[in-house]
C-alpha cells in the first residue's frame, strides 16, 4: 500500500486529497505528495528493501502509488559502475557512473512513468498521455502497453525518425503536431484540460516526479547505504534534481544511512534537510537552454524562460516548472550549476564512450562535460566520492555523433588489409 496522506500546495500550504490534481485551485501553485512518515518509519528497513524486486518498486514504501501490483517493466536498479578510466582522465579516484541509460525504454523516464502509470491505474484512467520529443514518449507508450491501456502521445512534426519509431513500436496513438514549440506546448496543455486522460507530467505530475527519488535511493544502497560527496545531474525541468536531493534526505531522516541518526521531517516535508546530508548537488545544462543555470549565476530570485536552441533536446525545457526549487537545492547543498558549451556536448559523449564503454545521448554528454569542468576547476577533489548520472541512451541521438563513422575501406584481400591497418594502429609481433 502507499503511505500517502494527500497533496499539499508548495506555495500556500493548502491541502488536497490524493487525486489527479497538480495545481492548487487557490494560488495555482504546484502540488506535492504528503507522506505518512510515522507509519513508513515503522515498516521500512534495509532488509525489507533488499527483499523487494530488482526495480524501483523495492522502494515502494517511499513511493506514492500502490506497489502491490505496479505497472512495472523493471525500471530502475540500474548499474552503479566505478569509473576508473574516466576518473583517471579527469584526475578523480573515486568516481562512479549511475548508468540509467539501460532502463527498459533506455532512459530514466521509466522511473517516473512507472509511478505515474501505476497511479493512473489506481485512479481508473483508461488512457496514458504525454507530449514529448523522445524519451518520455517511448516510456509512456511502453508502460501503457504493459498496463493494457491506451496511450496517446503528442510529438512535434519534425521529430527524428529514430525517436518516432522508438515510441511507435509500442502501439500508441501518435499525434504529430505541426507548429512551433510554443504552439505544441499550448495545445497539449489545452488537451490535458479538456480530456479525461492521465497526462503523466500534468495531472499526474505530483506522483510522476516522485519516481526520480529512486535515483537517490539506489545510489545510496549501491554505495553500502552511504551518500556521495558530490553528484552531477543533468537538468531540464529541475524536478529530477530536487527529487534526488529529497531521496537522500528521506533516507537520512528515516535512519537508513550508515551512521546517521533518524530525525524528524519537520513541518515541511518537501524542504527537509537532514544535517548529515552534505552531498554537493551540481547541475548541468547546455548553453542553448540553461534558464536555471543563468538564474543561479545571476543570483535571480526567479527563472526567466528561454526559447531552447540546443542539441541536447532531452534537456530542452525553456520554462522549467521546478527551476526555482532546484535553485533552493543548489543553495542548500552548497552545489553549483554549469552551462556546457554546445560544442563540448559531443566531446562529453565521446569521452564517456571511449573511457567506459557507455554510449549516452546528448544529455549525458552535457553531464560528462560538466563533470570535467568541475574536476578541472578543483571543485571536486581527487578522492571525493562522486557520482555522475547518465540518464539516456546514445542510440536515441545517433545523428549527433555520425562523424565517428570512419571505417577503413578495403578490397577483400590480406594485402589490402595489411596496407591500411599499419596506418591506423601499431600491430605487435
Amino acid at each position: 500500500m502507499a503511505f500517502v496522506k494527500g497533496l499539499i500546495c508548495r506555495e500556500c500550504g493548502r491541502e488536497y486529497p490524493a487525486e489527479a490534481l497538480n495545481v492548487c485551485d487557490y494560488c495555482f501553485g504546484p502540488l506535492e505528495v504528503v507522506y505518512d512518515y510515522d507509519t513508513i518509519s515503522d515498516v521500512i528497513s534495509r532488509e525489507r528493501i533488499s527483499q523487494g524486486p530488482l526495480s524501483i518498486w523495492r522502494y515502494q514504501d517511499l513511493l506514492p502509488a500502490n506497489g502491490d501490483d505496479p505497472v512495472d517493466i523493471m525500471a530502475g536498479y540500474t548499474p552503479l559502475i566505478k569509473a576508473r578510466n574516466l576518473g583517471k582522465s579527469l584526475g578523480l579516484r573515486n568516481l562512479y557512473i549511475k548508468n540509467d541509460s539501460v532502463n527498459p525504454s533506455f532512459s530514466f523516464k521509466d522511473r517516473v512513468v512507472s509511478v505515474a502509470a501505476t497511479k493512473a491505474m489506481e485512479f481508473e484512467f483508461d488512457t496514458l498521455a504525454c507530449a514529448s520529443t523522445g524519451n518520455l514518449a517511448c516510456s509512456v507508450a511502453a508502460h501503457a502497453a504493459r498496463a493494457g491501456i491506451r496511450a496517446v502521445v503528442f510529438i512535434p512534426w519534425d521529430l527524428e525518425r529514430g525517436k518516432v519509431i522508438g515510441a511507435a513500436i509500442y502501439g500508441p496513438t501518435m499525434v504529430s503536431v505541426e507548429g512551433t514549440y510554443d504552439e505544441v506546448n499550448r495545445l497539449c496543455s489545452e488537451v490535458a484540460d479538456n480530456y479525461p486522460w492521465a497526462f503523466v507530467n500534468i495531472n499526474m505530475r505530483p506522483y510522476y516526479a516522485e519516481g526520480s527519488k529512486t535515483l537517490g535511493y539506489e545510489v545510496a544502497e549501491q554505495l553500502g547505504w552511504r551518500i556521495p560527496d558530490h553528484v552531477v545531474i543533468p537538468s531540464a525541468s529541475g524536478a529530477m534534481f530536487t527529487k534526488i536531493w529529497k531521496g537522500f534526505n528521506e533516507l537520512a531522516c528515516l535512519g537508513l544511512l550508515d551512521g546517521v541518526e533518524a530525525a524528524s521531517f519537520g513541518p515541511d516535508q518537501n524542504t527537509v534537510h537532514h544535517p548529515a546530508v552534505t552531498t554537493k548537488m551540481h547541475m548541468a545544462q547546455a548553453v542553448g537552454c540553461a534558464p536555471i543555470v543563468t538564474a543561479w549565476a545571476n543570483g535571480q530570485p526567479h527563472v526567466s524562460p528561454v526559447r531552447p536552441d540546443t542539441i541536447a533536446k532531452s534537456l530542452a525545457i525553456g520554462n522549467p516548472a521546478d527551476g526555482i526549487y532546484a535553485i533552493r537545492v543548489l543553495k542548500e547543498s552548497g552545489g553549483s550549476a554549469y552551462a556546457v558549451p554546445e560544442a563540448d556536448v559531443i566531446d562529453g559523449i565521446k569521452l564517456l564512450a571511449e573511457t567506459e564503454g557507455i554510449f549516452t545521448e546528448t544529455a549525458g554528454g552535457v553531464t560528462v562535460s560538466a563533470l570535467k569542468n568541475l574536476a578541472d576547476s578543483g571543485a571536486i577533489k581527487p578522492d571525493e566520492l562522486t557520482v555522475v548520472y547518465i540518464t539516456g541512451n546514445g542510440l536515441k541521438t545517433q545523428e549527433a555523433v555520425e562523424d565517428v563513422v570512419n571505417p577503413l575501406s578495403i578490397k577483400p584481400s590480406m594485402g589490402a588489409f595489411e596496407d591500411v591497418i599499419s596506418q591506423r594502429i601499431s600491430v605487435g609481433g
Partner: protein, 80 residues
C-alpha cells in the same frame, strides 16, 4: 464562455506597463490574479482569464505581440 489559466512573464521594459488592466478593458475579459512576483528587472503573474473563447485568444495574441511571454500554467509540458 471559457476560462484559461496562464502565466505571463514580463521583461524589464514591460514591468511598468498596465498590461493586465488593458487586457481586461480592451478584450472584455475578467482577469483574476492568483500569484505574482514583480521586481524592477522582471516579473511574472499567474492568472485566470474568463470570457468568450475568441476574446481570450485575441487577448493572449495581443499580450504576446507586445512582448510578454505567455505560458501554460504548468510550464513546458513537452519533455524530452
Amino acid at each position: 464562455m471559457g476560462t484559461q489559466r496562464v502565466k505571463f512573464t514580463f521583461m524589464t521594459q514591460m514591468v511598468k506597463e498596465p498590461i493586465i488592466y488593458q487586457l481586461g478593458q480592451n478584450f472584455n475579459l475578467v482577469t483574476n490574479i492568483r500569484r505574482a512576483d514583480v521586481r524592477e528587472d522582471m516579473g511574472w503573474v499567474v492568472l485566470e482569464l474568463d470570457g468568450d473563447d475568441t476574446e481570450i485568444q485575441r487577448g493572449l495574441d495581443w499580450v504576446s505581440a507586445i512582448g510578454v511571454r505567455v505560458d501554460p500554467l504548468s510550464g513546458d509540458v513537452i519533455e524530452g
